[in-house]
Point group: C2
Chain length 353, copies 2
DNA sequence: CTGAAAGCGCTTACAG
DNA sequence: CTGAAAGCGCTTACAG
């Protein structure tokens, strides 16, 4: 059953081991007659290639790259950390991983980083993408070289990657709205929203999802137009302060984007009762704010699960085997009670090979 | 770097390959002098054993067993399904898995199932455990035979297993309370709780966690003593009906245990507004109830993540290598908006080998 | 188009 | 206590 080897196949087909290998691995230069005989034997014996043996024989190492935006963004620091930890662990399985720093939110920068990948021979790369036609050419070049590409956290043009690992941002926004509605349905009132930029697709999707649910199910609440923050904590802080001091204070805050440090700072100063407060991404400061009761909920996309999936997926793609069953990826709701023990274990290294 | 082989070590140490192998794999019958020389060389060269090559050479297959309670409990059906899917996928990595049916909640039955494992030679087993001293002997026997044992979903006596994969039920109860509090803080009122049995440690822990949070943070609400249901849908249905028809209806339901089908049935019949409703475990019917707006929240322990971890952990334990970084396991909150696409893909098989 | 053979890094008898 | 050698299931030159 689990026993047939290529040697068995060759015997059964009445050809040499080398010939059997040629057809199984599509190396060409084989007579059609032999091909048929081998395919037959493969089917009869239920042969399945032993990847471990093949890798041993070729001294194969899996070369992976992760293109991650630079900057001190706490979320991506968490992503990097998770990649490094996993990299350390799979080193003994002959996989190397490089983390490539990409200037954030720049199509040009991403374009050039992807272009440079061609110089090395990676087997698979995971890219925090952008939706831009400009990326199609370098991605096509990668694919032409047999490199497997997946989108991570933020997608790439669909035709040019094998898979996408990330949450549905519209779902994330809807979830935020549901929780805001639950927490305020008896009070109604206005919800002040904040976004980094409406050009950022993920922000726009979250906001739309949020609005849809509030409008449909919590009509007693009103969603105010978003304040643009560029994800800058200072901007967020000042805007939040302003809103908190208004004559008729809003009943809820929803920050679609980053920069929560500023929002939390403004709330911490408040002496009166604060609005119901929902933000995205669990990192050190949002976790602390939850514990301190300065915010109510964090919607998180579980970068640990995402990175875990990225490794599993990349290896399956490279080995050209079936995709493994992977845990579902849904926006996760954190309150102060269900926080993970350690959100983020800092490490010494910054790169692994 | 990643290149030293045992052969390199043997050379460096000035001994034969076989001798180097003896000390590295602790097979004994080696002079202390040789041992020292080899250890030295290993350290100098940073030798790390190639597990894949070793497995190939030994024709090793990982034999895993999962002991899962029988019955039509939807949660455990989901667990089984996840195990089968993963089993199918890792078959090509030479791992076989058996699912052993264990009569539910019986220490005696579990004791005898564990005892029978000794007859086969599994490398690792994951057990949905019970906390009973009676299990210590058969577990000790397993360990003596070098079998790795982990607790899954429900723990075993701590000294007799290598790890536990499951959520903290007290945290799950606290989380349920937080959500109930958020959804009702402006209304107050009474919360009717339901438990399968207070002897079941997980139920008791959830209930206590729930009570603690309500008492501390939502004093305007009262937690009524739990109704004992034995996880029987019929009992639950009748009790819920009764509560729904009371003169002064309760403002929330919290079902600590199983049997949600009955609870949902009672709610579905209700024409007036229903209580705020929190239950555990996302399965087909609880998912549907969420979509239909018959309940508000499901607290789930992510059996897909748990099973995924169980496989990763068992293999690491068997290989005696460092434990892999694994996604955190926390009680997950589902509302109708962040549901996974497919909760449960049924499969044809019932067992895999 | 086909085949024989060495080698990947290990383990396991077997012989001293 | 120590070592030489075959074999695990593959891939890769190399020779026809």
């Amino acid at each position: 059953m689990s026993g047939a080897t290529l040697s068995d196949v060759a015997h059964a087909a009445g050809v040499s081991y080398a010939t059997a290998d040629r057809v199984v691995n599509k190396r060409g230069n084989v007579a059609q007659k032999s091909i048929d005989k081998v395919h037959d034997a493969v089917a009869r014996l239920g042969y399945v290639r032993n990847i471990a043996a093949a890798n041993l024989s070729r001294k194969h190492v899996y070369r992976l790259a992760f293109l991650i935006p630079t900057g001190s963004n706490a979320f991506f620091l968490r992503v990097r950390e998770q990649i490094l930890q996993t990299a350390r662990h799979v080193r003994v399985d002959s996989v190397t991983v490089d983390i490539v720093d990409v200037p954030a939110f720049s199509v040009d920068a991403l374009h050039s980083c992807i272009g440079q990948l061609t110089g090395y021979d990676f087997d698979g790369v995971a890219i925090v993408g952008l939706q831009s036609g400009a990326l199609e050419q370098p991605l096509a070049d990668l694919r032409a070289r047999g490199v497997k590409v997946i989108g991570l956290v933020s997608d790439l043009p669909k035709e040019f990657r094998s898979a996408y690992i990330g949450i549905d941002n519209s779902v994330a926004g809807r979830t935020a709205a549901r929780m805001t509605g639950l927490g305020n349905r008896d009070r109604g009132g206005e919800i002040q929203t904040f976004v980094g930029s409406l050009d950022a697709r993920d922000h726009a999707e979250r906001l739309q999802g949020f609005r849809d649910v509030i409008a449909a199910d919590y009509p007693q609440m009103t969603v105010l137009d978003p304040i643009l923050t560029k994800d800058d904590p200072t901007v967020l802080r000042d805007a939040a302060r302003h809103a908190l001091r208004a004559e008729r204070p809003v009943s809820a805050f929803y920050n679609v984007g980053a920069g929560n440090v500023g929002l939390i700072e403004a709330i911490r100063e408040t002496t009166s009762s604060r609005p119901f407060c929902v933000v995205h991404e669990l990192v050190a400061h949002s976790k602390q704010a939850l514990i301190d009761n300065h915010i109510d909920l964090v919607i998180d996309q579980r970068p640990d699960v995402e990175v875990n999936r990225a490794f599993a997926l990349l290896r399956a793609l490279i080995d050209e085997r079936e995709l493994p069953p992977m845990p579902d990826l849904v926006p996760t709701i954190y309150v102060r009670d269900n926080l993970p023990a350690e959100t983020f274990k800092p490490a010494m290294e910054t790169q692994t090979t």
